[in-house]
Symmetry: C2
Subunit: 342 residues, 2 copies
């Protein structure tokens, strides 16, 4: 008995795919100057968001994204059956502080930059399983809070390496509902921890790429689909270094991802003009790209079926100091304008 | 449509309660000298567990607990459809490193000392929802890794306050299955963030007690039960200070919890002999007490229906330094030897 929705070891097909009822993105100044500026709900040129610490600024971004997404979906906070949230900061403080003045049923996640995909998967399954009618997945990152925790305080003015990614100052929130007109989350592929031996905290793309490849390859195999079955296969956030590695890993299987493949870390900034080195990263990067450019594009019919694959480098400054390599994970969901499943 | 399993805003009743197919606990020297010593599967008097850092020792405890629980349940790792894991360390490194040499579908959680209850709830719902046949929930804590991250490195020899709790060096793992002879997880009550304004990082019990009270009160109300319907209402880990506050909060509602109420932080050590001040804490404390003394006692029929309520103080040294109070959460499950639900 059990597991009748399972297609394979990592993938489930939802019986009644939940609808994305609302979504919102909140970003800072730099993101608001990038190529996706017209897709964000809120751009705040004051990256403190009016708060007196970077951590409080990040908290403010999460609570703002949640409020705006609920507003766009015309859903009241008291209708939320579950909120899944997490972020990059130790003890996921942006998430817990963002909802501490509410009475929302709350599940804290830790998945680094895979958090939006992790939350989307779990929030979708709890609706499909009959436990909830309405759920939310939220996450965020802030360049200033992340850099001082993971690498160097900004005041040091450290030189960044060519493979370094720029942690996006951004937050995104998706509201899922048992009812609605889509787009729908139809499949969930859960990630596994992949540690390819990369020890360079300034090369997250290379560390995460094998996890992204593994999850995407698993999803395609377990659903019996090929890249041609999708309008977009979107990772977040591998940036230029990691994206190239994923393309190469698929090429070694004689699969050319071609134009169908893209990455949130490549989309969010203009690398020629914005000095972000390899591109964007941070939980908020893929969340804000999804909760703006991508879901807007699905609603307009530009894309009909996509894979959204969140890639997390579970980077710990402490274990890096202890000489350890960086374990990574990639969670993926299929989002489709058609409720009937493939 | 949707949410047919929902009893109230925070509680769901499982349609096909999953069975606890296996469980295991691994502890260190001090826990192995306490009153529950006969209930643990593995006691290691070398608290390094043969590793060269406290963090690696904690990782080893988690992987050992998982292996032992699978072994006791006669289930192979490849049968696990999902693993839910988290711990107290930044980036939940004990959890991700514990499974990085496996290929397990993995969801990372952050719930501090509520992690075992959070994982049990989610792992149970994914089975009940038809997504999985077999799942695991794992967590751990280690006195030495936690103290240096949250308070002071042991080498400082700092004086502990009377309300301080002793982070248990312990890990626990529960294996859940769609089939089996119980005990069963029948209900899941999800917590909300409760911040009672406590700012003392050495008084976690007082910080967490209002969250424990809120979740327990919600569970009783939404299931239409009273404390008399349970053989045991077990929190973890409030220790003596927090437990007293929970009793008082219920007394102010004219509810005397009496002998039915207990706390893992009070059970794991002998406060008169072991110099632990208020008692035990840490994700591993409630996990190891549950995965030993409690589940053994349920299997033997000593208890037939219990509430297991994991209480987490989402303590961040950084936000405490910024003058913030400590947000807390409590997740609860009902575990019963009877599969039919109340």
């Amino acid at each position: 008995m059990g597991a009748e929705k399972r297609l394979g070891r990592f993938t489930v097909r939802l019986a009644n795919p939940p609808s994305i009822a609302g979504f919102a993105s909140v970003v800072g100044k730099k993101e608001g100057e990038g190529p996706l500026k017209d897709s964000f709900d809120i751009i705040n040129n004051d990256t403190t968001f009016g708060e007196n610490s970077w951590e409080k600024a990040e908290t403010k971004m999460q609570s703002t994204a949640l409020a705006r997404a609920l507003d766009k979906a015309a859903i009241s906070p008291s209708s939320l059956d579950y909120v899944f949230a997490g972020d990059l900061l130790n003890q996921c403080i942006s998430s817990s502080f963002a909802v501490r003045d509410s009475d929302l049923p709350f599940y804290g996640l830790y998945g680094a930059c895979s958090t939006m995909a992790e939350g989307l998967g779990l929030a979708s399954m709890l609706i499909d399983g009959g436990f909830a009618a309405t759920t939310a997945a939220i996450t965020s990152s802030h360049f200033c809070s992340a850099e001082r925790q993971y690498r160097m305080p900004l005041e040091y003015g450290g030189q960044r390496t060519p493979t370094a990614q720029w942690t996006a100052t951004a937050a995104g929130c998706v509201i899922l509902s048992a009812n609605g007109s889509g787009p729908y989350v139809t499949h969930v592929t859960t990630g596994q921890i992949i540690d390819a031996g990369v020890k360079d905290a300034n090369n997250m793309g290379a560390a995460m790429a094998p996890a992204a490849y593994t999850t995407l390859d698993t999803l395609l195999r377990e659903t019996g689909t090929t890249p041609a079955d999708y309008d977009l296969i979107l990772t977040g956030d591998l940036a230029s270094t990691g994206s190239r590695i994923v393309r190469d890993l698929f090429l070694s299987d004689n699969v050319d991802l071609g134009d169908v493949f893209s990455d949130c870390g490549e989309l969010i900034y203009d690398r020629n003009k914005q000095d972000v080195h390899a591109g964007g990263s941070g939980c908020g990067c893929s969340a804000a790209v999804l909760c703006g450019y991508i879901l807007n594009g699905m609603r307009s019919g530009h894309w009909k079926r996509i894979i959204f694959a969140g890639t997390g480098a579970l980077l710990s400054p402490l274990t890096v100091q202890q000489g350890e390599s960086i374990p990574c994970i990639c969670h993926a969901v299929i989002i489709s304008n058609e409720r009937q499943v493939i």
